[in-house]
Symmetry: C2
Subunit: 388 residues, 2 copies
Amino acid sequence: MTRIAIPDDSLFGLANLPYGVFSTPGTAPRVGVRVADSVVDLTVVDDVFAAPALNPFMAQGRARWVEIRERILELVTGDIDEAAVHPVGAVTMHMPFEVADYVDFYASEHHASNLGRLFRPDSEPLTPNWKHLPVGYHGRAGTVVPSGTGIVRPSGQRKAPSDAAPTFGESRRLDIEAEVGFVVGTGSPLGSPVGADDFDERVFGVVLVNDWSARDIQAWEYVPLGPFLGKSFATSVSPWVVPLLALESARVATPPQDPEPLPYLREKNPWGLDLDLTVSWNGQVVSRPPYREMYWSPAQMLAHMTVNGAASRTGDLFASGTVSGPAKDQRGAFIELTWGGKEPVDVNGEPRTFLEDGDEVSISATAPGPSGARIGFGEVTGRVLPAR
Amino acid sequence: MTRIAIPDDSLFGLANLPYGVFSTPGTAPRVGVRVADSVVDLTVVDDVFAAPALNPFMAQGRARWVEIRERILELVTGDIDEAAVHPVGAVTMHMPFEVADYVDFYASEHHASNLGRLFRPDSEPLTPNWKHLPVGYHGRAGTVVPSGTGIVRPSGQRKAPSDAAPTFGESRRLDIEAEVGFVVGTGSPLGSPVGADDFDERVFGVVLVNDWSARDIQAWEYVPLGPFLGKSFATSVSPWVVPLLALESARVATPPQDPEPLPYLREKNPWGLDLDLTVSWNGQVVSRPPYREMYWSPAQMLAHMTVNGAASRTGDLFASGTVSGPAKDQRGAFIELTWGGKEPVDVNGEPRTFLEDGDEVSISATAPGPSGARIGFGEVTGRVLPAR
């Protein structure tokens, strides 16, 4: 038997306890919990964790999430079978859940305004609907990949305004979007909207998302039906799902909304999340997007997504859209940070605009926990591989 | 033992043999094949058909699809165990496959031009990209439902151009889109585009699709990221998947494409499908959309969808977008047929524009088979239920 040592300043202390799917040379993929620098095999708690995805556990609902969290807390603070404890550096992390539908929102006013100026310089930056509803669209669930997956530079049609016709080739404007994603635990049936105050019953946890974006492909294709191939080549998620139950101390008021949203988008106690994101480009921090600045709240996104009666399912992932704050060094996409490539940023002494082959981007985040503790989200990382 | 009688003019003769998932009071959902007015339980052929979805069989690949089709032909033309044969009227049909990702294209030039005129009257009807690539977007896989599922009228935000602000309420412009859907059998890995000549290896079969659309919700929400809640409340599919192997005689040349598409969209032998669709509104035929008029071919859609390296998966459904021909009575959506509601059509003696509660819409189709036979697709049907 052993005891797990948990430093007071660990981002993976007892207030966090995030879930992930890991394997070792001798252990098939299964669910584990991260505690300090260890991963604890949760099959010692319940057989539901023998699955190679969190979906069966998430589908059991909130009462079980609470119960299991208490049992995990007992387990990891007591004497524990050494065979169930692995150093985090000795395991391979996998996709933590099977993605049902993937929806991407556009909930940052700063990001939407910046992109509007860049993509539609002759129009108002925000479209007329933007302050009335959380604009969103469906992405490709089948290309959501775990952190660490290499990102092959996509090819496709691009046409600059000055070109007479589109050409085919590698994307020259490969970008990131630093986002926060919400994972649905218990779905809602067709015809039953999820109310803005019912979020906690439905949503299991939170991940970090890098919504890789090929801006040249996107700019040419996206009218009138929205982004498609400019996004669908890959979307990366962090390996640890931080339970919503761990984020009580991270709740903050949302920015004022004007005009007041329609009743189905009103929460009794509107809340956002005080997450501090960090974007690193080849190891150098280039941006610190603050999630607390997001205009539309997580509960508003879920209420909107289902208000037409659309069903939700265990494993649905809905992401916030790029997290950008008001300051330049708070922008969560390189197209904003470099103003369409016209204002390079310094990356290890080199002026850089869009991603080059071999570049690595990591997005990490922390949030306040109880009693001054910090909750870590780990990171979502990806390296750009040359086009095939 | 029994023999199945197959009239010469059956739409479900030996040239068709479509697959579906059925159940009876004594039989759990499983895969069957339709022959004339019978459904034959395919678990007598192979255990893979005991699954409540076609996915495991589809994943086995084209060589198996060919082999099993031959074995089914032998089975249903010989003496067959009575217990394996059910009258089609005595079974319940289910979703024939589990949908992985759902993509909706916009491949009819007539439809795209009509919608452009209606949604963007001050612009060119076709966006600049339309003749260079098959425009498409991701839809909601979790709300693809089998024929016969009641369609609850969705509610959401609507704003007419004359309104000062959006209001919330029932959609007043509920519409259909008559489409043809393609079901991926064998997926392709991340980073490996499917060539325009590799369609037959990947695509298992064809279904009819009704992409129910709330035009008032769609018109307000769709800029800049595309349709979302105006579509995601429900998409209906027909219960029978017609194998691509049954459609050799239905292949026709595609309309000329000008400009010539980029190389990745060129097929050695470009082919479309000579499907005759019929749209019935409360039992009255209101439109006969011809699939042969579609500008972008099925193989071009799949090649485009994966050219950026996006993976495809068993169960991916990609639909053509509304099938509309050049004539008014060939339009596959009511917004086109009634020109935005301004030119009502006669339905059983009443002038009608958009769908009313209780309305039922059925879309059916046939295609040429070998030796003068016709291949039937059955129908996709749905009745509008009042908003909740």
